[in-house]
Symmetry: C2
Subunit: 358 residues, 2 copies
């Protein structure tokens, strides 16, 4: 396993807030970051040593990028497979192409999870109206239809409650390959952020409990209100996923928990640092961003203990303009992603309280 | 007092590790940093949004720099006065020109401190051989001769133990204006990192105890081994200095402590974030770098409490290459400044243990 020593150069595909926070963590260890992103105004560019503004299909630019770095990684799971393959030809790509291919496709992801012994909601693939009808028959109602590719923050998803929803479903999926998932009754949604290093060491952070509003993460709370047994089992599942993927880096595994039965159903996995892990910046001994850098550079993984009870809250749109109360609160840690335009629903920053909400 | 809201632009004169760590802290709040430094290979450039490579005497470059930022600051006290004045003409300069002028000159600094009711070692100014002889007569021996300007890490300093040292002293001072300081017997050296915001709020961090090796800071330990009374008095002195200077930003006040008498003598002040405050990054609720950004942007100052017992150790020269044990130690936080050439004595990084050395 190749180690990239501090002082080396890390390439990051994607220039959003995740790339930005990765670059900041990498800088603490003396790494230079080269960010590749088509968007000139990328927030991560503001803290990067080198930037490339080019399309993800620009072979020449990708080749130059790959050759300029010691290791490359990505901050979003919709990196085109061809992009990843091009980069992987000229440098180490961590995590690798396989993690992308599986997590870009809800069907492959669910097949992989179940084959790894990690339970998901029941699901059936469909594309046409007839297939959808058959799927509803098998899965029952209510159910959730999701396009196989390019869904995030609830995009490309639609509930199926009655037969009359069929037209709406096909409108949303647009004839693209999709899956119908059985509706899971659960008491809470949690996520496990887990790291696996190039040498195969694995470390999971404490389980975080997530609350979504309008399909966008609103808060993460640590510890989650689950039993020690469920906490331990959730971590085992995340570890199993990371190992089965031979994953390198930090990933997030989202799960639904039923309090009464203690049942855990894995909802989805993200092959990257994750919004539900932002609490680790001040709330854990090592942040998820530093941990990702450690993992992909094959450094020893850091300690994952929480520093107490933590609350992370996203700041969307113009919420970012009301920063003063957070800066006045001695228990609050304010983050602003450097984005100029606070349009509604846009993730502009977040705030983390450490032992501040008892 | 003008507040610079998160998302604004901060100019930093100087591109070393202090400028780098300031830029990283500023980025957490969404500020863009524009670094001005004559050295193309400046470590701070690696994490800056904009850079200007130009001499500190380049009026045109300074003007363009000043006009591109909402507030400017500096990471070293030897910014030429003319540079500071040029920048201050076109933007807010925090801390201001006065803090620079006083702290660039050991004589002015000592006069200022004593006039503010803060005791220093006894001192007499000299330049010629005759003046030096008179100074020795007044101060007694042993004493320390120091050039008035451009001294750091022990440069431009020489001990005066016997009459035969006179020639050596004049060789080091080179006929430049200098001072002779009475030798202070002390048990420990401590420093107080204190912040004063544009609105006049003041907050001091817990006192750190410093150990120097070959005139270069080796370790800082918190809490310092001093009584609560001495701790409180040290903070009062630092606060008095910050207020008397109408200072804006973070400054460090170095002091000698005599355990028996509890006497405190102020050695020198640095109008900037300081190596003896690096422990605050993980060891305090707010880092000195974030605190400086808060102060100069006129945000509320952050909490200064220590998170336990802290040890910060500098990594000089090739010590930076032995990073593995620090990364394996769950209580250690490793920092690498991104410098390529680990020449002997060069500050390459540091490591901070939080509650790790009981």
């Amino acid at each position: 396993m190749t180690q990239i020593a501090p002082g080396g150069t890390i390439g990051i595909l994607g220039g959003g807030q995740l790339g930005r926070m990765l670059a900041l963590a990498a800088a603490n260890f003396g790494y230079r970051c080269h960010i590749f992103c088509p968007d000139k105004g990328s927030p991560a560019f503001q803290v990067a040593t080198d930037v490339t503004v080019a399309d993800y299909e620009d072979e020449e630019a990708l080749e130059a990028f790959a050759r300029s770095v010691d290791v490359a990684t990505y901050e979003f799971e919709n990196v085109p497979a061809v992009t990843a393959e091009l980069v992987a030809r000229d440098t180490l790509l961590r995590p690798g192409v396989r993690a992308l291919k599986i997590t870009q496709d809800r069907l492959l992801e669910k097949e992989f999870l179940n084959a790894s012994g990690v339970k998901t909601a029941p699901y059936v693939a469909f594309q046409s109206a007839d297939e959808l009808k058959a799927a509803i028959k098998e899965i029952g109602r209510p159910a959730v239809a999701k396009t196989r590719r390019f869904g995030y923050d609830g995009k490309g998803q639609v509930m199926v409650k009655s037969r009359s929803d069929i037209d709406r479903v096909l409108e949303v999926t647009g004839g693209q390959p999709a899956i119908l998932e059985g509706f899971v009754t659960f008491d809470r949604e949690v996520s496990v952020v887990v790291a696996r290093s190039a040498s195969g060491d694995v470390a999971a952070f404490p389980v975080g409990e997530n609350v979504h509003t309008n399909h966008i993460l609103d808060t993460t709370t640590v510890p989650a209100k689950i039993s020690d047994m469920v906490e331990a089992r959730a971590k085992v599942k995340a570890t199993r996923v990371a190992n089965a993927l031979e994953y390198v880096g930090v990933m997030a595994v989202e799960m639904f928990v039923h309090d009464g039965s203690g049942e855990i159903v894995v909802n989805e996995i993200a092959p990257r640092v994750h919004n539900s892990g932002h609490w680790t910046i001040e709330g854990a001994e090592t942040s998820q961003f530093e941990q990702h850098i450690r993992a992909i550079c094959d450094l020893p993984l850091g300690a994952t203990d929480a520093r107490g009870s933590i609350l992370m809250k996203n700041l969307l749109g113009e919420e970012i303009l009301e920063f003063e109360p957070y800066l006045e609160d001695p228990k609050a840690h304010f983050h602003h992603y450097g984005k100029q335009d606070p349009r509604p629903g846009r993730k502009m920053g977040h705030v983390t309280w450490v032992n501040g909400n008892e």
